[in-house]
């Protein structure tokens, strides 16, 4: 596990900054059946920063963040080697409880996926399954989470209406609120704005900016301007490998790898 650097000439592939890392990923490989989807990934996630992952479709960026909360295991044929440490603990250790990991690592999906329940019930779902029953606490959680997701003012008068009555952008912010309700440390976002209109996208982007004070955020995006606007660090994935991982302004102004430059200048992908 510690001999990684030997294979990795560029220290920047591991982490662009020397700060605390919440995730330490070493020599991580992943296969879907015979398809080698992630190849020897060494990539740390710094605490309380926004980390963007860019790359063309099928490059493994979604697979990577789904590995971080082990959601990737829902695919039956998946096989993994290497290690992912979360706060110093190997998440693939059999003693490590996946439910606990997912409680402190929230996820926002590409398409908004609220539950077919009221707005209120959507937000309190997480706290409720983790045993919080007191109405007073739940009420507070709902207000705090919806405010955190910049949705409170729009929905405070109709908390008990079905969440499917909200617009797509509101639904996505509700999913973020649902995620905030269990007070995670990390929020994984898998192309959270790809199904949204520009105004909703802007709102979600502003939200990400305000959330990074308290949360470590990993965001997968197709939109390079978005990565440039909102992230502190950016990783460029190609064919299941991390090609370059550096401070965002560095990546976009002065990429060291030719392939990164080609991608961000729009020559492919």
């Amino acid at each position: 596990m510690l001999t990684v650097e030997r294979n990795r000439p560029m220290a920047s592939s591991i982490s662009p900054i020397k700060d605390n890392s919440i995730y330490t990923v070493r020599n991580f490989n992943l296969w879907y059946g015979a398809d080698h989807a992630l190849n020897d990934i060494c990539m740390d996630i710094p605490t309380n920063k926004v980390t963007a992952i860019i790359g063309p479709s099928g490059c493994g960026k979604s697979t990577y963040i789904k590995a971080l909360n082990r959601m990737v295991e829902l695919v039956p044929s998946v096989k993994m080697t290497g290690s992912i440490d979360y706060n110093g603990q190997n998440i693939f250790n059999p003693k490590f409880k996946v439910e606990e990991l997912r409680t402190s690592v929230g996820m926002v999906f590409q398409k908004p996926n609220p539950f077919p329940k009221s707005i209120y019930e959507n937000v309190v779902y997480g706290p409720k399954i983790h045993g919080i029953k007191k109405k007073q606490i739940l009420d507070e959680v709902v207000e705090k989470s919806l405010k955190g997701a910049a949705l409170w003012d729009e929905v405070k008068d109709r908390l008990h209406e079905n969440a499917f009555g909200l617009s797509g952008g509101q639904q996505q912010r509700l999913c973020i609120a649902r995620c905030l309700a269990i007070e995670p440390d990390v929020i994984l976002m898998d192309e959270p704005t790809s199904a949204l209109d520009p105004i909703s996208t802007l709102k979600v982007e502003e939200l990400v900016q305000s959330l990074k004070k308290e949360y470590s955020i990993v965001i997968v995006t197709h939109n390079m301007q978005q990565a440039a606007r909102i992230s502190d660090n950016t990783a460029f994935f190609l064919n299941g490998e991390v090609i370059e991982y550096n401070k965002t302004d560095q990546i976009f102004s002065n990429p060291t790898d030719k392939r990164t430059e080609d991608y961000i200048t729009g020559r492919f992908g």
Binding site: M71, E99, F109, N113, F115, Y125, I129
Partner: protein, 309 residues
């Protein structure tokens, strides 16, 4: 390549085999077929109503609905109190649902949430076989296998009783509830499951707190259809429940259901035009009302509990 596709299409159109009038006649032919079922329904209801009215000209409707004595074969003073038959039917239905709902629903949860593709490929066809067994076979299964088995547990159980056919009717309904509930649960989008799992929910929590509520309207509809089926079930009860109309809740006694009574009379115990003859229409009408109410209930419930997604 001598001709282009558009040329071939033009040529085919000119030599079109189906004449234009068929295009016009088609909806009429299809429509007539659709109307056949409507006419059949109307016809059946009409016959039921006419014969039932004849019956109520001879027997008081109040007695029919409120009396618990069903002795149509008594020479001197026959009495027609349908409550005995209704209680028999409900007793069977209740026992059947007690068996079918937990087993059927658990099967559905297993198939939709837990089973591997392989397990599903094995279990589903077997369930369909269970659904395809003729009910007369179930009847003999109840009489010659389940009843002796129950006798070992409950000494003194009579050969004809409500318990054994009730259980077997339940077994018969399991595939229906399992398969309809499974359909309802499988159609819950997996993005919802992922959303809950990503928040640290366990598989069981996802199944019970996300998928089950989301599929509830379909699941309840399957229960109600199961109840309808149990109410209308004939062969199993005619074979194994006996023919003793009795107003009772005791599952170990021999009883008679509405359907079994109709079978008994239809098999030749009554002459045409006699009160007994007309009584089967009245009983049939009651059955029809029961299942109709159940279907209306199913519709109401599936609208009431629908979680939009």
């Amino acid at each position: 390549m001598s001709k282009s596709v558009s040329e071939i299409i033009k040529e085919k159109k000119r030599r079109k085999f189906l004449p234009g009038y068929l295009e016009k006649a088609a909806p009429i032919i299809f429509g007539i077929c659709a109307v056949i079922s409507v006419f059949t329904t109307v016809g059946i209801i009409f016959t039921l109503v006419i014969e039932t009215i004849t019956f109520f000209n001879r027997v008081s409707i109040i007695e029919f609905i409120t009396s618990t004595d069903w002795y149509p074969f008594t020479e001197k003073a026959p009495s027609y109190g349908i409550l005995s038959l209704v209680s028999g039917t409900l007793l069977i239905t209740f026992i059947a649902m007690l068996v079918a709902i937990p087993v059927g629903l658990s099967t559905a949860i297993y198939l939709s949430e837990y089973a591997s593709e392989r397990a599903r490929r094995i279990i589903k066809p077997i369930l369909e076989v269970l659904a395809g067994v003729p009910t007369i076979v179930y009847g003999f299964f109840a009489l010659t296998f389940v009843t002796p088995l129950l006798k070992g547990i409950i000494p003194g159980l009579p050969i004809f009783n409500a318990l054994s056919p009730g259980i077997v009717v339940g077994i018969m309904i399991i595939p229906m509830i399992a398969s309809l509930s499974e359909d309802a649960m499988s159609s819950v989008p997996s993005s919802m499951r992922e959303g809950a799992l990503a928040m640290g929910a366990t598989k069981l929590e996802v199944a019970l707190k996300i998928v089950l509520p989301a599929a509830l309207s379909g699941i309840i509809a399957s229960f109600v259809l199961g109840i309808s089926r149990a109410i209308g079930e004939t062969m199993i009860v005619a074979v194994a429940a006996g023919s003793t109309p009795k107003f009772t809740l005791d599952v170990t006694e021999s009883i008679q259901t509405m359907t079994a009574y109709i079978v008994q009379v239809s098999l030749g115990d009554a002459s045409y035009g006699s009160t007994i003859y007309y009584s089967i229409y009245a009983v049939g009408m009651s059955l029809f009302v029961f299942t109709l109410l159940m279907n209306l209930l199913a519709q109401y419930i599936s609208r009431r509990f629908r979680e939009e997604y």
